[in-house]
């Protein structure tokens, strides 16, 4: 119904599909961090990180309502579909931002709260308002916003940022460009129509595919860092090798594919695999860490 936002529309502003990844990586950061956290406070911390991510999604939909109306993928969002005035999304996003940061600070510590506030600011202002419409490097730099949740989860337990949490940040940071450029390769007409300078529209398909391959190599290498620095065992190492090689092979296949339909299919395959990749790698890291701790308790 036009002009009358449903509860579901407010939930859609939070970008639940993006939130799944944020929540999962934040939980991994929280679980693998040294030391303990009260389970109730841990749940509150994850909830705050999820709501903070949702708030930045709402602010993104407020600012991007004009281009969301052009792209087929986003046309049915609450604002472009005419179910909600854009100002409602702004207020909703700001209120949730303030409450999530304040509650995280009170429940855990102000380092974690500060990191969450910076993440929201980075996504809403640096990425959405500045980078997204001005440079094809938008998602490379903007990807930092999506890489922060495990660091926030870690900080919620320890009150600090350490090398281990920076490695988790780096894995997501290097995963973001091949993930989004694979999407952009088979949705580039959408981005082109909206005037968003995604890499394929600016430098062409060949260069984008080469960059996807380069980032895939860096991603596979970065996923080995926990092994090299001794904070992951053989379970994680095995999974990181298999998934890293698979990711690189799919990127290589995309690089070698010239024909348009086959190229789009290869890009879609890589995009879908990239979603599973991050879940698998982070799950393996958490499992490995828990088993190591469990083993040490047993010994």
């Amino acid at each position: 119904m036009t002009g009358e936002a449903r509860v579901e529309d407010y939930l859609a502003l939070l970008k639940p599909s993006v939130m799944q990844l944020v929540v999962f990586t934040a939980i991994v950061g929280l679980v693998v961090a040294p030391g303990g956290i009260n389970p109730f406070i841990g749940i509150i911390a994850v909830l705050c990180i999820a709501v903070g991510a949702g708030a930045s999604g709402a602010l993104n939909m407020w600012y991007d309502a004009d281009i969301d109306a052009i792209m087929s993928r986003t046309q049915n969002r609450p604002i472009p579909a005419g179910r909600m005035p854009k100002e409602h999304a702004l207020v909703f996003g700001l209120v949730l931002s303030v409450f999530s940061v304040a509650l995280l600070g009170l429940a855990t510590n102000w380092v974690a709260a500060g990191l969450l506030a910076f993440t929201i600011f980075f996504y809403a202002v640096i990425y959405t308002m500045w980078l997204k419409r001005s440079t094809p490097q938008n998602i490379v730099i903007g990807g930092a916003a999506g890489a922060f949740p495990p660091v926030v989860g870690w900080a919620a337990v320890t009150g600090s940022v350490s090398f281990d949490s920076i490695v988790l940040f780096l894995i997501i940071f290097l995963w973001t460009p091949p993930h989004f450029w694979a999407l952009a390769l088979y949705k580039q007409s959408d981005y082109g129509a909206a005037g968003v300078p995604m890499m394929p529209n600016v430098v062409g398909e060949a260069s984008t595919k080469m960059q996807i391959f380069a980032y895939s190599l860096m991603l596979a290498a970065s996923a080995m860092l926990p092994t090299f620095f001794g904070f992951a065992g053989w379970i994680y190492t095995t999974v990181a090798v298999i998934t890293g090689v698979s990711f690189t092979l799919l990127a290589w296949r995309l690089l070698r594919t010239r024909e348009d339909v086959a190229m789009r299919k290869a890009a879609r395959t890589l995009f879908n695999y990239s979603l599973s990749y991050l879940f698998i790698v982070f799950f393996a890291f958490m499992t490995d860490n828990l088993l190591t701790r469990f083993g040490s308790f047993g010994g």
């Binding site: 119904m1 009358e4 936002a5 449903r6 509860v7 407010y10 009260n38 109730f40 406070i41 509150i44 409450f99 509650l103 009170l106 429940a107």
Partner: protein
């Protein structure tokens, strides 16, 4: 059509649409109420958890 007629045609809403709007608003109000209640409960529980077992161990 004169200007006042145009305004009237916009303002008039069928009973079905008015009822659907009212239902949506009611669901929104209930969701907001639940969210606020959960928020208050979270703060209350958090306070108890942060104070820990020494909750009653203080001079009165």
């Amino acid at each position: 059509m004169s200007a006042p007629d145009e305004i009237r045609s916009v303002d008039i809403e069928s009973p079905e649409i008015a009822a659907a709007r009212a239902k949506i608003r009611r669901r929104r109000s209930i969701a907001l109420g639940i969210a606020l209640a959960l928020f208050a409960l979270t703060f209350y529980t958090l306070t108890i958890v942060k104070m820990g077992p020494a909750l009653f161990d203080r001079a009165l």
